[in-house]
Symmetry: C2
Subunit: 469 residues, 2 copies
């Protein structure tokens, strides 16, 4: 069923018996206040809010299980909520129901430094985890733009700037605790680094966006802080030159830790937002991790490749404060770009293609944006073949929305024709369900639907996301 | 239902109509000859053969889909077969049915060297793939002991000696073509390096051992051949010293490409089998990949750690032919060990624990083997916390079998108590179903069963493996 028509048709008031039971269980952590519901009915997408009927703030797995059991008994939808920073409408309460806010589940449960693992409650954010483990000499590398929760990052199969070297949540999640649709609690794995023990339940739930169960605890891999880190910024005469430099770097197997592309529009907006003075040309931001010598060696190789592609010098940021400033600017890019058109909301696209096709995919997309006269900027985790176009639009102007959706649809079609994907790291939510069908084809989507129906036969777990019922 | 009682109870003769249809379709690639059936009814485990009723040799995905459709119409079991090198009874036809031999599906379909990917038919073996891509400067790192097929490796979530650096089939499979239980053909992914596009069907099928569908094509990641490679052998005064050296190496984040442990018994057997003269003491075999300088740097760090743990020198094998000889000996270890007790069959165990617990797990297991007076050897992909005990037994001597199963059961219990897994890389097959329940607990196994029933409602896909119906 189409989401928009479903809202009115399927939305029912919260049963009084359920309301009373949740209120008794959660006391002042149960709310039906309009402001609380409104806050939980939106994410960073350009959709208008669709608030749930109630919100509970859970503090442990057992409370989540109790809330789900109660909702299941009444056939009421349940939506998990971490930091609300998703980008495709993941947390919108399309059919009402109860949002379970996990932000108070913010305890780091165990750090096994000797095993390079940590287990956290789902509401712990990536920055909090890194803060709490800073004395161990270890770090957790995965860094989506927002300071997202680990539960949300697992649920959307998030990645970020370090994925080219360290992988995504897919590779770095060892085990999960999950509350299933009938309120049972399961553990999906162990702390062993690898396993062939049966179906990979961990990776069934990673990327399932709350539609198969609610992730309440996450065990992740940690990494020793590298002996040496250096960062470099490098401007190019054209987008093609910058991206071709990255393609060559990846094909040579140089183990860069990060390589980010920013188009001229992005550079201009972060210059303004973060008081930087970067040349307003297509730019690559590199980071190298390793031994002192290894880092120098990698950087020299990349510098040579950059020079072959006409780069304007190679500016080093070896002092930690300079590196932090650059990467903070990069992480703030989303907010910086919003300032390109004050009052606008952003539509963010997110495709990922095999590396050899990346330049072509970005250039054709850029040409389309120019043709449509969009206010836009392009940034990319280009080492993975992943990039985002942010288009600043007025979400209430149908012409604006249609133009942006047109650019997005053509970009997805382009990525799929290159054997790429409609979403590298943002997930499907309610926005990419049609693209998902284009990407996988009906028989594969049928298998996804079989999985959804097997794990959530009453369709109460974040309904209306990923696959249509 | 218990497997052993199920054999007689559920085995029915092949319906004549199905036999005729398969014979018409596959012509001389359809067989009911006793020798062919017998050959397909066994693997490298110590189980007696359980032959299927018929074998077909498929040459492409469409033929597999046709065979599955025909079997599905008659409710007849279907078992995929690659090289028959599984270790837990994966390919035994517990309930009869039709084995689909994929060894003639041996074409490399596409090598995208610029994207570092290859797509192969499921019957292509790992050595064949590396042979066919040798001129591209790339290689495929995953190397279980046998020259297994890529389809079988994906189906068992295999790994091997390079996994510590390059990951397992879980991390290196980008996409699969799968024939589902009703004979449909699906593609589970694209060639993008990362994706958040819906449920991770690729990883649902990786490790599913033919019980959810038949993998017919595999797209894998390739890696640039390292600029420099060096290998070193190093003997230790004790097992504890050797394993503690590895633990320290991993904790420091040194990116070793391989680190293999061989106990004294293993060294003795490969010395005899491969005419080597290694000191008959616990031994580590290292390999380093990187730049010339990087490899020297890693090796020096590891050499220092080894010295701290009382290692007897560090013997280098820098010439390719010396390295090949060492690694060939390591890969032949399984067959070398079988010679420790001529005429015996091997029971191979396969647990994996968090790295800090590895020494304790190996030492306690070794003590148990000694106490039980087993003919045994221990080898391990110790960088991952994974090791195998091979016990050479007479599979028809119940005392011998009971002793070996006792060692295995205690070792699994030990690994699980350390938050490890009952199988690092061999899979579940028919041998580890009870251990799987111990590891995951009943609620998680119930979720696996929901998945199995959703994807294979008639229970025809390799029935009797992984989860009980």
């Amino acid at each position: 069923m189409d989401q928009v028509t479903s809202i009115g048709a399927l939305r029912k008031p919260l049963p009084e018996e359920l309301r009373l039971a949740l209120a008794a269980l959660f006391e002042d952590r149960f709310s039906t206040a309009a402001a609380i519901r409104e806050h939980h009915g939106r994410d960073e997408s350009s959709y208008d809010p669709m608030p749930p009927d109630a919100v509970v703030f859970a503090q442990d797995t057992e409370e989540v299980a109790q809330a789900v059991s109660l909702c299941a008994a009444h056939g009421v939808p349940v939506i998990p909520y971490g930091t609300g920073t998703s980008l495709e409408g993941h947390v919108l309460a399309l059919r009402g129901g109860v949002t379970i806010d996990l932000s108070q589940m913010n305890r780091v449960l165990a750090v096994h430094a000797d095993d390079l693992t940590a287990t956290v409650q789902a509401g712990v954010t990536r920055k909090q985890l890194n803060q709490e483990i800073r004395d161990t000499g270890l770090f957790f590398p995965i860094d989506p733009g927002a300071d997202a929760s680990l539960g949300g990052m697992a649920a959307t199969r998030a990645s970020g700037t370090n994925a080219v070297r360290y992988g995504t949540m897919r590779e770095n999640t060892l085990a999960l605790t999950v509350v299933t649709a009938d309120g049972n609690v399961i553990k999906t794995g162990t702390r062993a680094r690898k396993s062939s023990a049966g179906y990979d339940l961990t990776r069934v739930f990673v990327g399932s966006e709350g539609t198969l169960g609610i992730i309440t605890e996450v065990t992740v891999r940690l990494y020793p802080q590298p002996e040496a880190v250096s960062a470099a910024v490098c401007s190019f005469p054209s987008t093609a030159a910058a991206v071709n430099c990255v393609i060559r770097t990846i094909q040579m197997g140089i183990p860069v830790a990060r390589v980010e592309f920013l188009d001229e529009n992005s550079v201009r907006s972060i210059n303004a937002h973060d008081s930087l003075a970067l040349p307003e040309k297509p730019l690559l931001l590199f980071e190298f991790h390793g031994s002192e010598h290894g880092v120098r060696e990698q950087a020299q190789l990349v510098q040579d490749i950059a020079a072959e592609h006409g780069a304007d010098g190679f500016e080093w940021a070896t002092r930690p404060e300079d590196r932090t400033r650059l990467w903070t600017a990069r992480h703030n890019a989303y907010f910086a770009m919003l300032q390109m058109r004050p009052g606008a909301r952003a539509i963010s696209t997110d495709c990922c293609v095999p590396i050899s096709r990346l330049a072509e995919c970005i250039l054709d997309t850029q040409a389309d944006c120019e043709k449509q006269q969009m206010v836009y900027a392009i940034i990319g985790h280009v080492g993975d073949g992943n990039f985002h176009v942010l288009m600043m639009i007025d979400p209430h102007d149908p012409v604006d929305v249609a133009k942006a959706e047109g650019v997005n649809a053509r970009m997805v079609a382009r990525a799929l024709s290159m054997d790429g994907t409609c979403t590298g790291e943002h997930g499907v939510g309610m926005h990419k369900m049609d693209f998902l069908l284009q990407e996988h084809g009906a028989p594969a989507i049928d298998m996804m639907r079989l999985l959804k129906r097997a794990f959530d036969p009453a369709n109460i777990m974040n309904p209306g996301k990923i696959v249509r019922w």
